[in-house]
């Protein structure tokens, strides 16, 4: 009878402390770099999509931005849509529809824990459909927006910010804020 191997020479599988995250067992951490849409040189003649996420003041904010993009940058068309489920990614049909009917898109306002991250995720999804996007978030949610960008394979993804809070602004203040973020939005949307 052959001698049994000693425990020292053939230890069994080591009794490791197990990882509760699951991230070491999959390839999901190694996402390919998300694509970025090609930018137009200007917004002259462009159709601008506005994706409103139902947060308080998001609709008047984006409406005013759309008006200013027409008045000051020569955009000619606006296509406004509402994303009711503000925490979730924009539905595929909506992304297809906007990519087919718009030249660029503005999405927001990221003004809560889930919707800021989601606005950035939508921006990245629009880029993948070759639709240049500008997401707008309140500046209180930068960390979560950046973390979401990283999760979606777009570390360092750029978006526009407006000072927190947004929900309690008066209609005049909302218009002022839209005007303040206008140039940043144009810079994000054009080459």
């Amino acid at each position: 009878m052959p001698a049994l191997p000693s425990r020292e020479t053939t230890p069994g599988p080591p009794n490791l402390i197990l990882d509760p995250t699951g991230t070491t067992t999959t390839t999901r951490t190694a996402k390919p770099r998300a694509p970025r849409a090609r930018r137009p040189a200007s917004l002259r003649g462009a159709t601008v999509g506005l994706l409103v996420n139902t947060k308080q003041n998001a609709a008047p904010f984006l409406d005013e931005l759309g008006r200013l993009l027409k008045e000051r940058y020569g955009a000619t068309g606006l296509v406004a849509r509402t994303k009711v489920d503000f925490a979730q990614p924009a539905p595929d049909e909506l992304i297809k529809e906007m990519a087919a009917s718009c030249d660029v898109i503005v999405t927001g306002i990221g003004d809560c824990g889930s919707c800021s991250a989601s606005a950035v995720a939508d921006g990245i999804a629009f880029e993948a459909s070759n639709l240049p996007a500008a997401a707008i978030c309140s500046d209180a949610f930068g960390v979560t927006a950046d973390a979401m960008a990283e999760l979606h394979g777009a570390p360092g993804y750029r978006y526009a910010t407006t000072p927190h809070p947004v929900a309690v602004l008066t209609p005049d203040q909302v218009r002022e804020r839209a005007a303040q973020v206008l140039d940043d939005v144009v810079a994000l949307l054009t080459a």
Partner: protein, 361 residues
Amino acid sequence: MTPTQAPDPEAAQAGIEYCYAQGWSDGLPLVPASQPLVAEFLATTSRAPDEVIGELEQVGRDCTVYLAAVNAAMAGCLPEYFPVVLAAFDALMRERAARGGGWQSTSGPAPMIVVNGPVRHELGFNTSGGAFGPGFRPNATIPRAIGLIVRNAFGIRPHVLEQATQGLPGRWSICLAENEEESPWPPFAIDGGQPAGVSAVSATLLRTCEFVDNRHTPDPEQVLWDIADTISRTGSLIFRDTSAGVVFCPEHAQMLAGAGYAKADVQAWLMEHCGRTGADLRRAGKNGLRGIARFADPDESADATFTRILPSPRHVPLVVAGARNAAISMVVRVFGEWSGTATPLAPLPAAGERPAVGLKT
């Protein structure tokens, strides 16, 4: 075990510190999970270790039976608690608020898990005094396991994807075993569609709990008015409708039942009497409605109108928990709305039915 037979404390400390260093902890010490321990958890279910039991689309992460077992072990659960962890997680994933942005929300909501049926005694749940904790291993570790799953398997961590402004006391620690023995009403799981006598778990998300201490009157309607006042406070109103449950102490529940109130009668009474006048709402800047969202409307024309806020019995879930030693009940402020379903516990697998435990590491 005598003190001299106790395990090596330095090895235990090293394991605990290792888990902290990996960023896995919710702030309290974790039990380092090992393959033999997790295998014991997996042996309590006939579900395959790689079955996906929850997916969070917006962050691209999911949780398998295996990951749930690792997190439950780390939370301090015993292996035999694992079927309850799985049922609680299934129940939560049925809640729209938990599938959506709830875990990321600025409101930082807490799961409230309610356990019914024989499993309460089989596993040694606390079913009486101190229902909201602490002090009892299953009540404390099962909701903690859910919290660790959200943190580790879903990757939702404070200050990053989790954006709670203040959070609330009791997040990851609310697991009530209903006091069925002293409740005058049918168990909560029956409201969730399960037959009597079945062990089942219900879950929803809470924004907070608020006590109603009324040891002052023998009149059940006065007690209901006291509860209605707490439910109707304007600070909790953000949308047109709200949802607020009551975790009744046995004394209040028995007083109501003794006066002829069934659960449905209590729910109907609260739906009728909870709400505020337009003037009250306007004073707090919440009188206007745009869709379902409230806003400050200068319009005073509805000042005299009483607005009700609880739209259906499902928005007023009623549970009985705690000791019969005082007339103290709890209003539980539901985040979103409860699905109205209870999840039955899966039976333990027969020896031959257990899946081969091929652990993935």
